[in-house]
Amino acid sequence: MLSHLPILQVIVPLLAAPACLLLDRARAAWLFACMASFISVVISGLLVFQVHQFGVLSYSLGGWDAPWGIEYRIDLLSAYVLLIVSGIGALMILAADTAIRIEIPSERQPLFYVLYLLCLAGLLGIVATGDIFNVFVFLEISSLATYALIAQGRDRRALWAAYQYLIVGTIGATFILIGIGFLYSLTGTLNMQDLANRLPALESSATAFTAFAFLMVGVCLKLALFPLHLWLPNAYAYAPSIVTAFLAATATKVAVYLLIRFHFSVFGVGFAASVLPLHSIFLVLGLVGVFVASLVAIQQPNVKRLFAYSSVAQIGYMIIGIGIGTVTGLQATLLHLFNHALMKGALFLALAAIVFRFGSADIRHFAGLGQRMPWTMAIIVIGGLSLIGVPGTVGFISKWYLILAAFERDWWPLIIAVLLGSLLAVIYIWRLIEVAYFREGEGESRGEAPLSLLIPTAILALANIYFGIDTRLPVYLSDSAAQMLFGGGP
């Protein structure tokens, strides 16, 4: 059975979804979904171990070898991202039962879990597969589930946000499809490994360039990279809180993974550099993204929206890491992938608790929250500090590596810019803390969020601190993954 792990990783949530539909009772569906997601965490843990032990795992579906059939290919990078996605997915679903109770009418709840599992399976499928067309299919599974999930927000603007996301997401997916078409017409294969072997000979071809451009733009639309980010704040702000937490912690990570995968594994590091200054473009877009999004975030009255913009800014950091173009830079990106998932997961889950109490995440409700919901607020403070990059939290580690990478290249302006960006984060986090601790709340004092919501949040918050101090696991994984990507794959 162990040899089947790569496929089980995706199949378990994928098949659990229709089975979940058959249950038709919210509680049963929830338990079932929990079970499926925990199994997938275990599988991803085993996968990391196996990859660490034996190197790249390749699994040919249907028994057809690589270029003919579809191949699942798990290397360190994908195992790492699989672990992040499945881990966050499982924690979120623990909290989901309580969180959606007030946000989604009861007869829709079983369907909610079905969609949640499908979304999870789609994301896992994108990461695990080694076939670019399969990426497209699973991308669409997760996207369709996401659109429907976002539309479940109680505000009617959730519908509008979901529609916008749908249009943008479909355009992005179609762009990716066009890119795949060009690649196929050029090479005659869809397998990533095979493509990587065949593309270097075609480096000067305009078709390869176009394919690259379309893939990049398509992924960046999904990624919400700065100028293409307009769908994200709305979608995050109006979606049900648990969905926001899940998406913020996983969906963009998977998009970053795809970017790295296409950029490094399929086309090879040298490709982009030879035809266009992609790295400089990434650097500039990343930096502008950090600043613009942080500045907008400072002015947001809705805290969910505030953190959504902050997500755009954090994506900017990840892109900067890629843009630096060194092993350390990429390592910083990968670390931030992990760390950002932890902190945004914690923050948005804490917001879910606040929404559970007050019905919205408006900053008004934060007044006096330090006394009224001490635990939730403490978690927000931890997440916020991590977002800023205070030593002792995970945020510090990724910023540290980012600065290290810039330092290696002697890019002082970049270091200063990153520090300035953190300063902006200080401003918007401080705003929250000030309101929560130093302003008297009006109205009666209300209690803490229910434990079922608080515990997963606390786990994430503790993970923020734990991995900020004991950095061995993520650093090791990201370091070897980054080395592997620059080494052109093992």
Binding site: V137, L144, L159, I167, T170, I171, T174, L177, G181, Y184
Partner: protein, 116 residues
Amino acid sequence: MLPELYNYWVVIVLMMIGFYIVIVQGNLIKKLIGLNIFQTSVFIFYISVGKVEGGSAPILAEGVSVYSNPLPHVLILTAIVVGIATMALALALVVRIKNAYGTVEEEELQERDLRC
């Protein structure tokens, strides 16, 4: 060069028409039609890639030696299904938007959002 590639270019023109509609149209449903055109033209693009001069449909038959490439057909079958699934979901969203806002025009939607 031109006669060898004209097929692709026609497809590209079609594709861009669809893309333009998606961006410019204010009506949500028409936007979706544009999206559909955009997607379908991508399908045609794929099928053009799969065409082989003098080839025949990829179903085994006696007396036929050259077949068109079946792989793009398979991919596009999948893509069509994905496309129609997306459409169904999008239309469901539009229906709900109409119910919640009373309009399917982008500008009016934004106005009504600002008012509340």
